[in-house]
């Protein structure tokens, strides 16, 4: 396998020169997009009922349309694909109209797809997935836009891949049918594989294959597990269904749950990625083009954590209760290991990639703490990580475009040459480190406080929190180390003198992210309030679920909510009360701490 040819991506001209008038035009346009996005929820008419379908259709149609634009018309392809994504962004603003005061799904749609097998097209968002959809619709146009600075070959295929990727990501976040989820989950794989493999760096083929095969192994085993669950559901109820709501009624035996959870957890843990399954991530990130890295870090990795919250843990509560602390150990090891690896990297991009392993370890720890603060913090941390790591990858791309190196030793004193760049880099670094006032702080603090009082982590919860907290310190060490090497000190490398500062495109791409870093840092409650009912529902369901399996290990089907009204309601209430009682037993101090972590 030789990669000697086609090194065009490595030798593109540093930042495409743009005429001032065009720059002004793009800046005005960007401001317009932002203003409309922020104003839309206030003035728009009621959202259409098929909003989520619309969100899937727009990028899909856009992708198909791109195929029919002649490849020479690169300017048109660029503008068209961006316009599609901006329309998608505006449409997603309608999601604000949903009623997230309860745990129910909003904008849900449920249509038969393959009736004979009970496969349905069921979509909906709740307080958790809605933020992840918004993250996707915000980050995708930014990553495509910033790519146009450096990707100059095969624009058509690039735009097509990004649009298709957006369909897959949004689809996976909104699916409420396991089959549909699996289809979208797999659908994301091919565009990302192409993005890494075609537009990536020197070892792109190795990285792309590794990425693909790691993910494929996990997801195929998950498919078998899904089929097993459906088979059990069929044996009890006599009908096939892949709908999450139906399958949640199924109570599996303990040993079944453990095997099935293991299969699901493998797929999701590879995606997160959790230590020790993370080895594909540094390769993929280093080889991927800037836009690909941004979307991979910001959105794709979130599907792992989301999968745990939405599918793996509610479906197999006993198994996650049984295996959760073990996985939490891996999460904590990942936090420290990722941080330690990041510390010794000389390649900035690899450093950011390992920092992702560390940050996502926090997310997993928060999820497995099963406290309100922990889970809310984990979701918040997912969004925050998406924003700040996305920004970091863009920033690394900026310097790579100018210098064609990412080695820390080649930089130094850049603050004198690129003041604006330095400012933004330091802001994003602070967010990644977790400085109060930025988004990184809120999530990590809530996760740590959640882990500190977690009952789920048995008697070791404080040890977990203690070790995880060292990850925060290490984050400061490796990030500040990188900042020190890159920006401060004398400007002694000749190549670094006179580097151009951010051009308008990079500035446009970064400014919404910087805005979000502060907005999430200062007003986290705007996000936490909407996810609270969903998280509370998740915990109640989870607690009731594992207790039920624990007290009576049996394969059975819980009655459907509407099936036997009197009976079922009584039982449901009983479950809910049981869960509430269980939580009330917690020591008051811990509860108070959880509130502190949970609320602000």
């Amino acid at each position: 396998m030789s990669n000697t040819h086609d090194t065009s991506h490595d030798t593109h001209a540093p930042s495409v020169a743009v005429s001032p008038s065009e720059a002004r035009f793009e800046i005005v346009l960007a401001i317009l997009v932002a203003v409309i996005f922020l104003e839309l929820p206030v003035h728009a008419p009621a959202a259409p009922a098929n909003l989520l379908t619309l969100l899937l259709e727009v990028p899909l149609m856009g992708a198909l349309a791109v195929l029919f634009i002649p490849r020479q018309w690169t300017a048109i392809i660029r503008r068209f694909s961006l316009a599609v994504m901006v329309i998608e962004l505006w449409l997603s603003a309608w999601l604000f109209h949903g009623d997230y005061s309860g745990a129910g799904y909003q904008f849900s749609q449920d249509v038969e797809w393959i009736p004979s097998l009970g496969i349905r097209y069921a979509v909906g968002v709740d307080g958790i997935s809605y933020w992840l959809v918004l993250l996707t619709t915000v980050l995708t146009p930014i990553s495509l836009y910033v790519s146009y600075n450096s990707v100059s070959t095969k624009i058509k295929e690039y735009a097509f891949s990004f649009l298709l990727l957006e369909v897959g990501m949004i689809g996976a976040f909104v699916s409420l049918d396991l089959f549909l989820f699996y289809v979208f989950w797999e659908l994301m794989l091919v565009p990302m594989y192409l993005i890494i493999g075609v537009w990536g760096g020197k070892d792109r083929i190795y990285a792309a294959l590794k990425f693909f095969i790691y993910t494929m192994v996990g997801s195929l085993l998950m498919l078998v597990a899904i089929l097993y669950v459906v088979a059990q559901y069929h044996s009890l109820s006599g009908e096939y269904s892949f709908a999450l709501a139906d399958l949640l009624r199924l109570q599996l035996t303990q040993s079944e749950q453990i095997w099935l959870f293991a299969a699901f957890a493998l797929a999701f843990a590879i995606k997160v990625p959790m230590f020790p399954l993370h080895t594909w991530l540094p390769d993929a990130h280093v080889q991927a083009p800037t836009g690909g890295s941004v979307i991979l870090a910001a959105v794709l990795l979130k599907l792992g954590g989301y999968g745990f919250i939405r599918f793996a843990m509610p479906l197999f509560p006993y198994a996650s209760h049984y295996l959760g602390p073990t996985l939490a150990v891996f999460a904590v090891v990942g936090i420290i290991y990722g941080a330690a690896c990041a510390w010794v990297q000389r390649d900035v991009k690899k450093l950011v990639a390992y920092s992702s392993v560390s940050h996502l370890g926090f997310v997993m720890l928060g999820i497995f703490s099963i406290t309100r603060g922990g889970i809310e913090g984990a979701v918040l941390q997912m969004i925050a990580h998406g924003v700040s790591t996305g920004a970091l990858f863009i920033l690394v791309g900026v310097i790579y475009d100018r210098r064609h190196t990412r080695d820390l030793a080649d930089f130094g004193g850049l603050a004198k040459a690129m003041p604006i760049y330095t400012t933004i880099f330091v802001i994003v670094t602070m967010s990644s480190v977790g400085l109060p006032g930025t988004n990184g702080f809120i999530g990590e603090f809530m996760i740590l406080s959640g882990a500190f009082v977690s009952e789920e982590l048995s008697v070791w919860e404080r040890v977990f929190a203690l070790f995880a907290a060292t990850g925060v310190i290490l984050a400061a060490v490796y990030m500040l180390h990188a900042v020190l090497k890159m920006f401060w000190g004398p400007l002694d490398k000749k190549a670094n003198v006179g580097l151009a500062d951010l051009n308008h495109r990079e500035a446009i791409a970064l400014s919404p992210l910087v805005f979000l870093i502060f907005w999430m840092g200062v007003f986290p409650s705007s996000m936490l309030d909407t996810m609270r009912p969903s998280v509370a529902h998740f915990i109640a369901q989870y607690d009731a679920g594992w207790r039920e399996s624990y007290s009576a290990d049996a394969l059975r089907l819980r009655p459907a909510p509407g099936e036997e009204p009197a009976d079922a309601e009584g039982e449901d209430e009983g479950d809910a009360e049981g869960g509430a009682e269980a939580r009330a037993e917690r020591p008051a101090a811990d509860h108070a701490l959880a509130m502190v972590g949970g609320a602000r």
Binding site: K154, L189, Y193, G197, L209, L223
Partner: protein, 533 residues
């Protein structure tokens, strides 16, 4: 159609194709120049598929088997197989129409052999007697031996054909020996009589010799496993696939495999579906289980190290045979002493999906090369997807479908086999896990094709593949792309066809039929379906 042709209607697909085959012989003999035999045979084969579809809702009377002396049946299983095989053969002859002309091999006998082999395959899936089974199997095989040897001056082609012929004859001998033993055990050659004798233990002429019967069954399994290229009877496959001209490879991969799988289903579910022979741990399902496991492993692992794309596809077809055997083992579930056959539909759907995906992959491989520059190795594919996106797109689609990636036909095919296996429970669950792990292994060699298509460039000085131009090949690619996507996005209609076919095999009431006509047991459409009462 019954009103027009009476009982002969059931034979219409065979008669149409036989008539066309004879006409083609004449055309080939008298019209030397510009005979569009490729198009002609494609149209005829597609027409035959249409006729078979037209017979779908015909109530086949008991007179039909009598008409043929009990040698052939015409049930939905056969009609379904007709559709899959005629579709595959029609697409293969379209591919041949472009390929043979491009490579200056355009001789009429190719199409004639192809049509007559398809006729053999169609008779094979209808066979309800050991004699008709053997005769039609040979009719199918002889034609295919010739097709493999079609490029007469190529040593590789001769080698592949010779290996295929010798090992094929050997397997036929084993099959025949098994049949002889079965006759000795049951004193019957017709399936219904054999099934009855094996179930009751009475031949009508003394007791059934079950030990002899089991031995015969094992030999029949070996003979058929050779034809589906299951490990360890697969040795001929890579050489024959590599040596044959690519349209002939396509034909072998889709038609021969489909016919053998269907006949395997008919014989093993129909004849050997008794409680003793089909017992989960000691009967033939466990043998099929073992064959499936080893076929999956060897097929996928051997495909990893291939340097030639055609050989890779040959090993991938072995791996797919493993998947089909998983489906058969999963479907063989005893229910009150009888085999249930609903899950055979997953095998049948797989056959259909595999047919169109394989045509797409082989067709794309054909279109990449041109005269003197046939694409065989991975290196030949380097950068083709980028230089010629309209070649790269169908190739990608075919490869993704073979890999089993949504939303393509291959995904649902694989999915339903896995679903059947998981539903069967027990050891089948482990086989399902092995199957998905092997699929993950498989994704490596399939992805390698995509890597070369899109991510590599030809070496300096290496020959650069130039895609050929041919309306025939393009038509085949467009058609098979359509089917791959259609079965991937809305598979319900095709699955219902497969379910209809599998219900009728067992003599079960067909859910799609009008509930007003309960079919009495004596009017059960096939002899195979011997009613239990």
């Amino acid at each position: 159609m019954t009103s027009l042709f009476g009982d002969w209607a059931a034979l219409m697909p065979l008669l149409v194709l036989a008539g066309a085959g004879m006409a083609m012989l004449l055309v080939d003999a008298f019209v030397k120049e510009n005979a569009q035999l490729g198009l002609f045979s494609a149209v005829i084969l597609a027409g035959t598929a249409m006729v078979s579809i037209g017979l779908w809702d015909e109530q086949v009377t008991a007179a039909t088997p009598a008409l043929l002396g009990g040698y052939l049946a015409s049930d939905r299983l056969a009609l379904f197989a007709d559709v899959a095989m005629c579709l595959g053969a029609a697409l293969a002859s379209l591919l041949a129409g472009g390929y043979l002309r491009e490579h200056k091999l355009d001789r009429g006998e190719f199409y004639v052999l192809l049509v007559w082999s398809t006729l053999g395959a169609m008779a094979l899936v209808r066979a309800t007697d050991l004699l008709s089974l053997f005769v039609s199997l040979e009719a199918l095989s002889l034609g295919v031996y010739c097709l493999v040897a079609f490029r007469r001056h190529s040593p590789k082609s001769a080698e592949g054909a010779m290996k295929y012929f010798l090992l094929g004859s050997f397997a036929s001998a084993i099959l025949l020996f098994g049949m002889a033993l079965l006759y000795g055990a049951t004193v019957h050659t017709d399936f219904a009589g054999m099934a009855e004798a094996l179930r009751t233990g009475e031949t009508g002429d003394g007791p059934t010799d079950l030990r002899l019967g089991i031995l015969g069954m094992a030999l029949v399994l070996v003979g058929l496993a050779f034809k589906v290229s299951a490990v360890p009877f697969h040795m001929w496959t890579p050489d024959a696939y590599e040596g044959a001209v690519t349209p002939a490879t396509t034909f072998m991969a889709v038609v021969v495999k489909a016919a053998t799988i269907v006949v395997l289903v008919r014989v093993f579910f129909g004849v050997f579906g008794t409680e003793m022979l089909a017992a989960e741990t000691s009967g033939w399902p466990s043998a099929v289980f073992g064959l499936a496991a080893i076929t999956l492993v060897v097929g996928n692992v051997a495909a990893l190290v291939q340097k030639n794309v055609k050989r890779m596809l040959a090993y991938s077809s072995i791996a797919h045979a493993g998947f089909l055997l998983v489906g058969i083992a999963a479907a063989a579930q005893l229910d009150e002493g009888r085999l249930t056959t609903e899950t055979v539909s997953s095998v049948l759907f797989y056959v259909l999906a595999y047919t169109v995906s394989n045509v797409l992959a082989f067709g794309s491989l054909i279109v990449v090369g041109s005269r003197g520059k046939e694409a065989v190795s991975y290196e030949d594919l380097a950068g083709v997807g980028r230089r010629h996106p309209w070649v790269g797109v169908p190739f990608t689609l075919g490869i993704l479908s073979l890999m089993g990636f949504p939303p393509t036909a291959g995904f649902f095919a694989k999915y339903w086999i896995l679903e059947a296996a998981v539903n069967a429970g027990g050891a089948m669950t482990y086989l399902a896990i092995l199957a998905v792990l092997m699929s993950a292994v498989g994704s490596y060699y399939y992805l390698k094709v995509l890597v070369y298509l899109f991510m590599k460039q030809p070496e300096q000085g290496a020959p650069v593949a130039v895609p050929m131009r041919s309306g025939y090949v393009v038509a085949a690619l467009v058609l098979s792309s359509y089917f791959v996507l259609r079965m991937g996005l809305a598979p319900t209609a095709y699955l219902e066809l497969a379910q209809g076919a599998s219900y009728q095999l067992a003599g079960l009431p067909d859910p799609s039929a009008q509930p007003a006509e309960p079919a009495p047991a004596d009017e059960a459409p096939t002899e195979v379906a011997a009613a239990p009462e």
